[in-house]
Amino acid sequence: MSLNSIGYIVKETGRNLIYNTWMTLASVSTVAISMFVLSFFLVLTVNMNHVTSVLQSQVEMRVFIKPHVSRAKEMTLLRDSRHWSGVAKMQFFTKQEAANTLKKEFPNQKNLLTLISKSNPLFDGFNVYTKRPSDIPALASRFRKQPIVHNVIYEGQVVSRLSRLSVILKWAGWGIEGLLGLATLFIIVNTIRLAVFARRREVSVMKLVGATDWFIRWPFVLEGLILGLVGAIVADIVVGQGYHWLLFEASNALPFWPMASFHQVMQKTQDFTLGGGLLVGVLASIVALRRFLRV
């Protein structure tokens, strides 16, 4: 395709978009809204994943030693298990230290405190930090098999519940997005149909003087693409500003809540919204041209 033709096609596309101002605006805003909803779910998912991974990195396993085991045996196990695969860090605590920690955590539980002070029912043990959260179950069972180990506790359930929730969130997001995408598709199809209708005389003259099919189609395809892309960009700007604000507010209101960073979020939303916008735009032009532009 020659440079002349490209110039012409770009010019015609611009003409179409301006000629149907209201439909252009309607299409861009539908794309934007649909992409905004998509982004909303993405922001949620990214944050869920972030929280999950933060929690996973904090997960520790507690290994409790049976009572009346000698300190020497405990130390042997501590030394050996440091080299087990998956272990990042080990920390020994005595039952006295465990009691002190408990007192600090629940200073208002008088009954508990007196109980512990009289005869300490707690165990000596280790805090075990793993390199990866997936190492936990295997390590836990390995510790359990040790004769001096009383039991092993780890908080795997919170993590697995969170990941299950984010999967549900993801599917719900895709479902809603599918419906919205369909609605967006119809709007853009209609916009292009109007453009074809507004330019039917031009199209018939073009056919008559021997313009190629694709020469006739390109401006309309390009129109769909631009509608999709501009809508996505609008959504991105809104989401970007919105998340920026959210981060700022959250740092005041929930200082300890781990929020995903701006870049983490925007990278993902940009990929998806721009990709989605282009996809919807192209699909819409193809549908519109098949149905309304018999070249």
Binding site: N4, V205, V209, G210
Partner: protein, 228 residues
């Protein structure tokens, strides 16, 4: 060279446009297609520029076999043709110049070629002074000249005109015919469907008469032959 071989066209409603037509048109000819309304003149012309495809038979146009022509190659055929209509089919929101230039733009001509060629063609059809006018500012005859200019601008081998003088008074019509004659003199083949008896009779060109879808007369230097 154009050749119709046993061409029939039956429309979806069962009506026949033309029946078993055989016709040969050489390059450089000037041919009138005459006959009453609904006789099949327009059907024949629509088959020529591949708006319709024959139901049976074959049409050859230079290297093209029209029944074999793939849809995406129709544009190649159309570039050999310049088609002129009774209603002109001008773009009302573009000036005379833009209307003519449009035909060049959409086949990918360069800006330089367009700037050179369009004024030449407007000069030929006598509209140089009107190049900035919009179609509604022109008379019927002038509008038809724009249509002819647009058909001419890409240098087609064949000019196909479907009643180009249908809406014009006799004097203006004569101007249009003179123009087509000049174009013919410069080498283009002209095929013109018409009702204009006086013109046909005066021109002494080849006349093909169509009635009820069949060719009933084909004379080298013919007359209109109907009392209309």
């Amino acid at each position: 060279m154009i050749r119709f071989e046993n061409v029939s066209k039956r429309y979806a409603n069962g009506h026949y446009g033309i029946i078993d037509v055989n016709l040969e048109i050489r390059r450089g000819e000037f041919l009138f297609l005459v006959g009453p309304s609904g006789a099949g003149k327009s059907s024949l012309i629509r088959l020529l520029y591949r708006e319709d495809v024959p139901t049976t038979g074959e049409i050859y146009l230079d290297e093209f076999r029209l029944t074999q022509l793939k849809r995406r190659h129709v544009s190649r055929l159309r570039r050999q043709l310049g088609v002129v209509f009774q209603d002109g089919k001008l773009l009302t929101n573009r000036t005379v110049y833009q209307n003519v230039a449009f035909a060049m733009e959409v086949v990918g001509a360069s800006g330089r070629d367009i700037h050179k060629r369009v004024p030449q063609v407007l000069e030929l059809v006598g509209l140089s002074k009107h190049h900035n006018h919009y179609p509604h500012q022109l008379s019927g005859g002038e509008q038809q000249r724009v249509g002819i200019a647009r058909a001419l601008v890409n240098n087609p081998v064949y000019i196909i005109a479907d009643e180009p003088t249908g809406n014009l008074d006799p004097e203006t019509s004569f101007g249009i015919i003179k123009l087509l004659q000049e174009i013919n003199r410069r080498g283009a083949t002209i095929i013109m469907a018409t009702h204009a008896k006086d013109i046909v009779n005066q021109m002494h060109k080849r006349v093909v008469a169509v009635e009820n879808g069949r060719i009933i007369r084909d004379e080298a230097r013919g007359v209109y032959g109907y009392e209309s």
